[in-house]
Amino acid sequence: MVREMAGLDEGGPLFAQVAERLAGEIADGGLAEGARVPSTNELAAFYRINPATAAKGINVLADEGLLEKRRGIGMFVAAGARATLLARRRAGFTDRYVQPLLTEATRLGIDADELIGLIKEVSNERGGVAV
């Protein structure tokens, strides 16, 4: 039995997963710029992991300039962090979503025009994203 770690898994180093989770929260606006980031011990207790592992996760984002340390108080989301993370995500969008979508579509014999049609259809049903 692998212990429940609030969604972390065995797929890679835990510190990298903690960093990714925090980055995700910043990109989604859950952690606003200027907000205090949970402390090492808070993260360790929440994910049920070694505090040194949690600290390493925080340091990844600090090294990238996404978090800044305020002496004696803790870590805070740096100005511009959200924009940086969204730009990074956008850059990865094609590789992460469009390529696999096209691969599977090709396998099923769906061509690009038909695919675009499908996307529009679903988008209209949701009344959401404009294409």
């Binding site: 039995m1 692998v2 212990r3 770690m5 972390l8 898994d9 065995e10 797929g11 890679g12 180093p13 835990l14 510190f15 090492t40 011990n41 360790a44 207790a45 994910y47 049920r48 992991i49 070694n50 505090p51 040194a52 592992t53 390493k56 590789d95 992460r96 390529q99 696999p100 691969t103």
Partner: protein
Amino acid sequence: MTPAISVTGLTRRYPDQVALDDVHLTIGTETITGLLGRNGAGKTTLLRILAGQEFPSSGSVRVLGSPPAENENVLRRLVLVREDQAYPDFRYPDFKVCHALRAASFCYPNWDAGLASSLLEDFGLRADKAIKSLSRGQRSALGITIGLAARAEVTLFDEPYAGLDAVARQVFYDRLLADYADFPRTVLLSTHLIDEAAALFENVVVIDRGRVVLDTAADGLRGMVTTVSGPVLAVDSFTQGRPVWERRGLGSQASVVIVGQVSGEDRERARSIGLDLTPLSLQQLVVRASGWAAGAGSLTERTSA
């Protein structure tokens, strides 16, 4: 900084076997280390020697900078919770849980009585219960309570949870982490419930047949070995140029175990060509390391590279 534990060339021979065979080990202060290995690998002997309860045949052992054997200055700063912890209940039938805690409070200078009673409560153990009437699991709960409430600079747990159910083990892990966060110390925990405890460890040491076969940062092992399975052509193209541990095939399907982290980009690529990637858990890794010392050696080299 002086390491909390430093062992060089430690060998312990019994008339019929070698329990520890030229062990070298350094454990840094304020870390939690998992001591892993099969039954009979030498874990208990090592912990007992560290706690001064047994003597090396040869080699040197230093705990908090000094040899632990009969060294009051080391032993009062160290606690060992044994799997088969004995209490004087056979001589004193009225010896109760509260008496064991009282005795422990005299032994350990950092003893926290409040922590001890809150742990008893979490484990559902009454202080006025006679020790001779405790179940196996309750005896383990008492051992863990003493081990944590001692707040000893060096805290050694040897398979501390025989008879404890999953809920009680979760209490142990959570309370250990919480108290460690507030009062960092050096913890060495031997266990065979590896996956359960894996996230607690900063480092892992694997012992097999008296020798250290793996000594590395635990988080670095995660995702270090992956099983790649799917259509044989796709598997071959994906695994080409990567160190391979094992390869199996069945018709047009193949399953290959590769060593090395797989980047997010490669992960996407694998998915797009119809491959399944399954990381080996720490437990699976240790099983392989223990059964195959040579393989473990090469893994250490790769992880440290």
